[in-house]
Amino acid sequence: MNTIVRFKAPERLAHWLHFVAFTVLLGTGMFIYLPALRAFATGNAGEAARLAHRIAALVFMLSPIIYLVFSPREFFESLREMFKWGPDDFAWLRGAAAYYTYGRKAQLPPQGKYNAGQKLNALTQFIAFGVFVVTGLLMWFGKGAVPVGVFRWVVILHDLAVIATTSLFVLHLYLVGIHPLTRESITAMVEGSVSEAYAKEHHTLWLEQVRDQKKGAGE
């Protein structure tokens, strides 16, 4: 079977770092968000959780930098992609629920490297990243540096970013790990490529682009 290269090594590293960091951040964060997990926020567990959250935050902030530094072309390409929205993207979104639930492909227009859902996820992640870093650093180092009135809204924004990213995280895990239509695409992040069939099914336009490039390169 033919495979198409989807993500280079630095991209994959950044992704997995981001995944681990996010999981740790989310998990340790839940200790103070969920009353049921309160016990883990105190004592030795609490101290470890607090330290883990901060170290994970550093990794979290580091991963996009690794992406940028080691695959700058792909970084900016992804950035451009997540902001490029057209009528096909909205049409895809309208039809996505039916497709993933019932398998009806009919209403889905062809997608590029990132389908609308992935673009939405990326965009949300991008914005949330900014919110997390700013609010997180303020919560970590900035007590007293901003007026109390500002801080009160900082913690709320941090929570809103958590809600948005966690919901998407659950969806992402489902699609990548469970859903029969998409779970094979995990190879994209593990080996770096997907099967041609998969690319044809889900990212038709991208497959054409890649073939054109290969033709141009004389493969």
């Binding site: 103070i32 968000y33 926020a41 105190t42 607090r50 993933y100 019932y102 009160r152």
Partner: protein, 268 residues
């Protein structure tokens, strides 16, 4: 159990700092380094080492000059924002209505310090990197009071400006004191804390407007707290739960449909 309260009669307070020292002595709090900067007021702020202190204010009104002394410290609100935002329940209301602080449970997040409308709790940062920190504040002598003792400051107050007892009785005393002071010619007497924040555990008889003492005239429970605790956070549970449930449903339906399709195919 009946709610206890402290009455601070500023008309009797002489600013002697006995309470400031008694608190430090009982709780083994060390002194801080201070400088004479042109005031009797020292230390210049509450801190992890200073849970109560006297603030000094010069105030003139209606031809009467007053030198006002205010014993600053946690006001033990009935509707306590700090209790509502504390993620570990280190801060909570005791049986006697005090906002107590169990230091062992404190994880140093500092939310209490940021949400208190009076700006009382002080965070002692032990390690900025790891975030190891402890919140501190007056806890109405949470180890003395349940044993039937008065808070250390009340016990020591030489002129008898501090009183301690069941809140209803204290309110009665405070109201009559306000009337007595009016009769004595104080034009701007008031009782601070009767209904503010659901009713404060620390009540003040003031002989000048609250702002003259540095107290907020109309302290409000921060609007951000219900937005956060009762709005955003429950929405969070909802959103993620809905997502999970939604996806679960989607998966079940999808599987069923796939099974139906394949059985339909088999039939064909």
């Amino acid at each position: 159990m009946t709610r206890m309260a402290m009455l601070i009669d500023t008309s009797k307070c002489t600013g002697c700092r006995g309470c400031q020292v008694a608190c430090k002595q009982w709780w083994d709090l060390p002194e801080t380094q201070t400088q004479q900067t042109g005031s009797y007021e020292n230390p210049t702020d509450l801190s992890p080492q200073t849970w109560t202190r006297i603030t000094f204010h010069e105030y003139e009104s209606g031809g009467r000059f007053q030198w006002l002394f205010l014993k600053q410290g946690c006001l033990h609100c009935a509707e306590a924002a700090c209790v509502d935002v504390c993620p570990t329940s280190a801060l909570k209301h005791s049986d006697l209505g005090a906002v107590t602080l169990e230091s062992d449970l404190c994880n140093g997040c500092g939310y209490c310090a940021q949400f208190c409308p009076f700006g009382i709790p002080r965070l002692e940062t032990l390690n900025l990197f790891t975030g190891e920190a402890k919140a501190t504040k007056c806890n109405f002598c949470q180890d003395r009071v349940p044993e039937g003792l008065k808070p250390a400051c009340v016990k020591t107050c030489p002129p008898g400006a501090l009183d301690w007892g069941e809140r209803d009785a204290i309110l009665e005393k405070a109201r009559s004191r306000v009337e007595a002071l009016k009769a004595r010619g104080y034009a701007e007497v008031s009782l601070y804390g009767e209904t503010e924040m659901g009713g404060l555990g620390r009540l003040y008889v003031l002989t000048a407007p609250p702002s003259a003492y540095g107290l907020p005239e109309n302290p409000q429970y921060p609007a951000s707290v219900p937005v956060w605790q009762e709005g955003v956070q429950p929405i969070g549970y909802g959103a993620v739960a809905l997502t999970a449930v939604g996806l679960g449903l989607s998966w079940l339906i999808g599987r069923r449909m796939a099974a139906q399709d394949s059985s339909a195919k088999k039939e064909e």
